[in-house]
């Protein structure tokens, strides 16, 4: 596994400063860790873990002002994983970033583990919100950003949502509130992989035109290739997209990204890889490293 890149607490992150190769190594490392964790636990959500891996690598190693030595620092940026079922990749990136020992990842979903199937802020350093039921992260993020505004504090709030979960109405209550309160210290990143549990989002309950919907709710919107690390680093480093408005970055992604037989395959939403499948997946991911 690659060594962590220590660039915490930087005051002015910029794409110019992003070490794209290092970020790519981290993204690959957390893909590998998360697949191993799901295989070992015999439960998890590998498809969504893999679609979010590049976003998380960029956030934790190039954007968020967080410090594993002081995970409750009042001035930290807040990151909320609203798609809480993708806890494996969150724990993996938290371990890479130094919030928990890597060995602890072996404990994922084991009896009495603090690494529950869905993240628990009361147990895991670096976790900001207990998520799992969908549509919970954004309202919490709005409250967080609102508190920073009340205190005129410079820290920011980032929420990563799935795309299917945008079918939950609570997101749109929060979207309305975020623009009403002019929360330009809040950014939502939508992991737009196009698939939900059973089928595509568009066949299940269509979300398009998604960018227009966010705009109609008063948000500044940008779209980005959610697997292009340089593009992600650039986009997420120049927030807000517009002063006085919350930012929505729609990251176009692929579920199962990085493993050929998982990519864009709805079956891998929560299928667990066999030993053989895991070996093939790791060979592909490690092969990509060469």
């Amino acid at each position: 596994m690659s060594k962590p890149v220590s660039i915490y607490m930087q005051t002015h992150p910029s794409s110019a400063g992003a070490d794209v190769a290092a970020l790519a190594r981290i993204a690959r490392a957390i893909r590998i860790s998360s697949l191993q964790m799901v295989h070992r636990a015999r439960m998890g959500h590998p498809g969504g873990d893999l679609s979010a891996a590049d976003i998380l690598a960029v956030l934790y190693f190039n954007v968020l002002r967080v410090d594993p030595a002081s995970p409750r620092d009042p001035g930290r940026d807040r990151f909320i994983l609203s798609k809480g079922h993708c806890s494996a990749v969150l724990y993996a990136v938290l371990a890479e970033a130094g919030f928990l020992p890597r060995e602890q990842l072996l404990d994922f979903m084991q009896p009495l583990s603090m690494l529950n199937g869905h993240p628990d802020r009361t147990k895991v350093p670096g976790v900001e919100a207990n998520t799992g039921p969908l549509g919970h992260g954004l309202p919490v993020g709005v409250g967080s950003a609102l508190a920073a505004k009340m205190d005129a504090a410079p820290w920011r709030t980032f929420v990563l949502t799935g795309d299917g979960e945008l079918q939950e109405g609570s997101n749109w209550e929060a979207a309305m509130a975020a623009s009403h309160f002019r929360l330009d210290n809040l950014a939502v990143i939508v992991d737009r992989n196009g698939l939900q549990l059973d089928d595509t989002t568009e066949r299940t309950m269509g979300l398009e035109p998604l960018a227009d919907r966010w705009r109609a709710f008063g948000w500044a919107v940008a779209e980005v290739d959610g697997h292009d690390i340089a593009a992600l680093a650039e986009r997420l480093s120049v927030l807000p997209l517009e002063r006085g408005r919350p930012s929505c970055v729609i990251a176009r992604t692929h579920k199962g990204r990085g493993v050929s037989f998982m990519e864009d395959n709805v079956e891998w939403h929560h299928r667990v890889p066999t030993g053989q499948e895991l070996a093939r997946a790791l060979a592909e991911l490690n092969g990509a490293a060469r």
Partner: protein, 312 residues
């Protein structure tokens, strides 16, 4: 006739005083500035009142985010919507996440009588006390409401305070000190104990006075904290004899159930649960509905008399 008070006034005054002393305290509401009696709060602390519009799920989620940044949100809204619409947010964002947020369920029970069962909140205590880590308080009069709000602020964790609208007289003597988890005996009695909370406490006291004419010596206990319940107070009552519970709530899962859980485990005795008997209440003014469900002092007297004589 004794003066009666809408507990929302004491609630609002207490919240305002707390906010003046602690800048972390804020109010969060769902287009309920008027109905939650928050107008004075809004005038005094316009930047510390967050009105999220008609969006209860968002209101509770936002409060969790505010608490995560060190605020102490008092979430104020009609109890029926606050608790039912946002129940998953209360469970996950507040209780499971152990956020320091206070839920003020305003105009609970049958307070919205004529508006009908959509607006009655006769399940809120049952729902909230089933969730781990939530303190549930149902104050009986203005003094207790004011103190319950202050006590909620002093606890680190989610607290639900039911803020009654239907006017009640003061039932506590001057100098009464409310403590979370401590029941208080308002009237001694040897034959039967009436365990009540909220707007039913004054009715229990009136019924107990009427029962003396029947030769029945009834004790009255105000069980204002439903969770954590005062187990010893229940056990003491059960040792004395039978227990009748009274609540402005369904008899499924509320105060009666909470008392019964202690009784069956520690000190079995006969019980009678008075309240709304597991049905939707019809339309009508609050006093009409209380009469309809046998929750007026004369009807309570009747029920207790029959129960004590073994006929009820």
């Amino acid at each position: 006739m004794t003066a009666r008070f809408d507990c929302r006034e004491a609630f609002a005054e207490s919240l305002l005083a707390l906010a003046a002393a602690d800048p972390r305290i804020i109010a969060v509401t769902n287009d309920s500035v008027g109905s939650s009696n928050l107008k004075a709060f809004q005038r005094r602390f316009p930047d510390r009142l967050v009105n999220v519009g008609i969006a209860e799920q968002d209101m509770v989620g936002i409060s969790a985010g505010l608490a995560g940044a060190g605020k102490i949100p008092f979430v104020c809204g009609a109890s029926c919507f606050l608790t039912a619409r946002a129940l998953e947010q209360i469970k996950v964002d507040l209780a499971y996440s152990r956020h320091n947020v206070k839920l003020c369920g305003v105009s609970p029970g049958l307070a919205y009588g004529p508006l009908g069962a959509t607006h009655h909140s006769i399940e809120d205590v049952a729902w909230l006390r089933a969730i781990a880590g939530v303190t549930v308080i149902v104050p009986a009069d203005p003094a207790e409401t004011a103190q319950a709000v202050a006590a909620a602020a002093a606890v680190d964790g989610p607290v639900f305070v039911r803020v009654s609208r239907h006017p009640v007289p003061a039932v506590h003597a001057e100098g009464y000190e409310f403590r979370i988890g401590r029941a208080v005996t308002l009237r001694e009695g040897a034959d039967v104990t009436l365990v009540a909370h909220g707007i039913m406490v004054c009715r229990a006291l009136e019924a107990a006075a009427l029962l003396t004419a029947d030769g029945i010596d009834a004790a009255v206990v105000n069980m204002s904290t439903v969770r954590p319940i005062d187990e010893q107070a229940v056990i003491d009552a059960a040792r004395r004899g039978p227990i009748v519970t009274l609540e402005e709530h369904t008899t499924l899962g509320g105060l009666g159930s909470a008392v019964a859980e202690v009784v069956v485990c520690h000190q079995p005795t006969r019980m009678r649960l008075l309240g709304v008997p597991g049905v939707f209440a019809p339309t009508g003014p609050v006093e009409f509905l209380l009469e309809h469900f046998g929750l007026t002092p004369p009807r309570i007297r009747e029920a207790v008399r029959e129960f004590v004589s073994g006929r009820g």
